[in-house]
């Protein structure tokens, strides 16, 4: 049965809800720490102005936090509702981080949130400050566990396929938690949240300075947020490099799509900026990959493999194979995957009919080819290639904007330190208009991570086509439409409330 429409709709619904959720999470991650810093300064200095500053940003944090929770609950349950085969096949590994997230992070956030917002006059200053920090830590712990789960989807480790239960089972919890892909994803993702939080604070503070309102409040906010933003944006670039290195090692098809690399070669360069040739197809060596491009020589080999002379496989090699450089073709992987699948079926049938010898030999054959299991569900080699244009442009937008943010924070901090920030109208406008750019960069990052690894729900092990629930397409269309309507409505409400609170200003708020 062709279920491609159902799979596309299920992916579409998950993408829709995830993209909406990610509009709010980065600000929660970053602003929670910035608010905690403001409050720490207040407790240290006992200056009531800092308390007002803290409360103003805390108010905006709460407005964002509420809608983040609203869009977040659906993510956990969608694994069951729309990806039920996935939930069974990998639930033994994937469920654990989600449960730990709930126990370690959600309860901490939701409990101390009450003190943070309503406990100013009910607990001591220090207990209140501790609660604010615990909300920030809780938010970030939540990110840790969900990114452990996501990192495992990108690079599955610490598990074994159990032929009797027909699912993957965890063998080593610490391999899952300390999976290098998970570690780099966590560091890169939370630092993007810190940068987003900083952009939000400097951008809004810049608006106050442009309006010549609440100048002291705005300048103080900029100093703290620009310092945090500069440090974390440098960290973001560093972790981004590590993240890309992990992709090069574990997801070469994604790397090739990120770089629009059709033909692999040694000493490969990175395309800093360029326009893909949409007429170019895999296997066609007559057309150029780009209509125009600006390339940094050797950089892809060096950053991806830490070796200036390294061979970087392109999409042609990854699909059609390149024995010279030990790149196996997708066709060969599909053939081996089908052997694994047939062996699994033979094993199950033999167990049912109680023919032990057949079961034993089927199991041996399965173990020989099990690492290709996911490929057995594919039909054509080109299915391993994700949407190239979307992955390429998203990646380059993310990288370009990330670099801009570091420069912006540096300039803001410098002019704040020398006391000239008020006169830098252009820079202040740039800060204000960088707020939406932060959101664009974050969403682009997730598009690279998730679209770039298609067709896999679990890299090389489980394609999305097998992972979905067996639903009517009408059911998914109904729920996806409802999500679109409700989330868009709530987003409009959130933006209107947020803008109104900002206009009211920190004294009145």
């Amino acid at each position: 049965m062709d279920n491609s429409l159902l799979v596309d709709l299920s992916r579409g619904q998950f993408a829709l809800t995830a993209l909406y959720h990610w509009l709010f999470v980065p600000l929660t991650l970053g602003l929670s720490f910035i608010v905690a810093m403001f409050e720490t300064i207040y407790v240290k200095t006992n200056d009531s102005e800092w308390k007002k500053i803290t409360k103003f940003w805390m108010g905006l944090f709460a407005i964002n936090f509420a809608i983040g929770i609203a869009t977040g609950i659906i993510m956990e349950f969608e694994f069951g509702t729309n990806w039920s085969n996935y939930s069974w096949i990998v639930g033994d590994i994937f469920g654990a981080p989600l449960a730990i997230e709930g126990l370690m992070a959600f309860f901490m956030e939701s409990t101390f949130f009450a003190i943070m917002f309503f406990g100013w006059d009910k607990v001591s200053k220090k207990v209140h400050l501790l609660s604010t920090w615990l909300v920030a830590i809780g938010s970030n712990l939540s990110a840790l566990w969900i990114l452990v789960a996501n990192g495992w989807m990108q690079h599955p480790v610490g598990m074994k396929f159990n032929v009797d239960t027909a699912r993957f089972e965890m063998e080593n919890f610490f391999d899952v938690v300390f999976n290098p892909m998970a570690v780099s994803k966590f560091l890169h993702t939370v630092s993007s949240g810190y940068v987003m939080g900083s952009l939000f604070v400097v951008g809004i503070s810049a608006w106050f300075l442009l309006k010549r309102r609440d100048v002291l409040f705005a300048k103080r906010s900029i100093i703290v947020a620009a310092s945090f933003g500069l440090l974390t944006s440098i960290f973001l670039i560093t972790t981004g490099d590590e993240s890309a290195h992990e992709v090069a090692m574990k997801q070469p098809v994604k790397l090739a799509a990120m770089e629009g690399l059709y033909e692999g070669h040694k000493r490969a360069g990175i395309v800093a900026i360029g326009q893909l040739n949409t007429d170019k197809e895999i296997g066609d060596t007559t057309k150029d990959e780009f209509l125009w491009k600006l390339e940094i020589p050797y950089a892809l080999s060096f950053l991806g493999y830490r070796d200036i002379n390294a061979f970087v496989p392109g999409l042609n090699e990854l699909v059609n194979g390149d024995p010279q450089n030990s790149v196996e073709s997708a066709n060969e992987k599909i053939r081996k995957g089908k052997i694994a699948l047939n062996a699994l079926r033979s094993y199950k049938n033999a167990k049912k009919s109680d023919t032990q010898d057949v079961a034993k030999s089927a199991l041996e054959e399965f173990r020989m080819y099990e690492k290709y299991l996911g490929y057995g569900y594919l039909d054509k080699p080109k299915q391993i290639v994700p949407p190239i244009g979307l992955t390429f442009y998203s990646f380059h937008i993310m990288v370009g904007l990330g670099s801009w943010f570091a420069g912006l924070f540096l300039l803001l901090l410098y002019f704040s330190m020398v006391g000239k920030i008020e006169g830098k109208t252009l820079l202040l406008r740039a800060a204000l208009f960088s707020i939406p750019l932060g959101y664009i960069a974050g969403e682009a990052g997730w598009i690279v991570a998730e679209v770039g690894r298609q067709p896999w729900a679990i890299q090389d092990m489980l394609p999305v086509g097998v992972a979905t629930s067996q639903l009517d397409t009408t059911a998914v269309i109904i729920t996806m439409s409802l999500f679109a309507i409700i989330f868009t409505t709530l987003l409009i409400a959130e933006i209107k409330i947020m803008l109104t609170q900002i206009k009211i200003g920190y004294k009145e708020a």
């Binding site: 609950i73 349950f77 069951g80 069974w88 469920g95 699912r167 089972e169 059911a475």
Partner: protein, 374 residues
Amino acid sequence: MFETFTLLTLQQYWWFLVSLLGALFVFITFVQGGQTLLYKIAKTEKERDVLVASLGRKWELSFTALVMFGGALFAAFPLFYAVSFGGAYFVWMAILFCFIIQAVSYEYRKKPNNFLGKRTYEIFLFINGSLGIILIGMAVGTMFSGGNFIKDDMNLSAWTLSSRGLEAALNPFNVVFGFTLFFLARVQASLYFLNNISHKQIEKRSRGQLKNDSIFFVGFFVFLSIMLLIMSGFSYNESGFFIEKYKFLSNFLANPILLIFFLVGTLMVLYAIFISLFKKSSKGIWFSGIGTVLVVLSIFCLLGFNNTAIYPSLSDIQSSLNIQNSSGSHYTLTVMSYVSFLVPFVLGYIILVWKSMDKTKITSDEIQADSHHY
């Protein structure tokens, strides 16, 4: 320590923990119950603000408890999670929509320029507290009455009806389960207001509301209990699943501790209602809270022990789920069991925070003076 446990012991331990989480969630649904009483107990805008502020300091815990309940089910019993959520699609999606609209309503309700208007957010809260809770009750009811699913050799499942779980509303047991939870939530809400708010009119109306809701709650609860005790359930042995008459009555008799929990819990809830109505006590929430946890815990545990199906299949009896065929592996349950050591710690800080926030009752003056009140 847990490594030496048998797989069955770990499965039972985890079913107990999931049941405890479910029981704690039902306790904290007083938040939802209270949301349906905003226009019953409060007659002025100021009074409504006090109710919303009182509930608003706890709403996130109810949300978190639900998420935790789902997360624990996913981690410990992934096949149940896959079959139920992927199968009864419309029911679970409807529940989720009810909770999505709750999450923003407290924060946005009173904010200027909130796009939808205060009344819309209050309607959202009402929908969450009524439809959301009734649907959850109906979904839990299917764990006793069954669902229309099948599963194959690879444990991949499919739902056999296009109504995708909505058919649960046609089963009287599920409906009674839903309404029992709904009225329990309202009873507990009134008890919570009596304990948490210092306001004469609110206290008076809370007691009046408690009287009305208690009548409905007791009626539905008695009806539910009778249905539970006389209904047939799905048992299993080495040859597979089969239907057993008076299954849950025999489970109670086979596990007297569960019967004691059920009876003691019921008495505590009734005692809470009694002292609140006739002794003018404000401590009822603590008795009803502990009572609710004991009753719900015992009801959930009926499914996990004594060779009982946790999710009977009405389409193919042998596709039914029990704690053994739907659980995580020995290794994962072991790891998760160590993580469960955090539960007392988490409960501890929740109680500490709750105590520090509720040292004194909420007053109208306090709410009006609070710049961030809901």
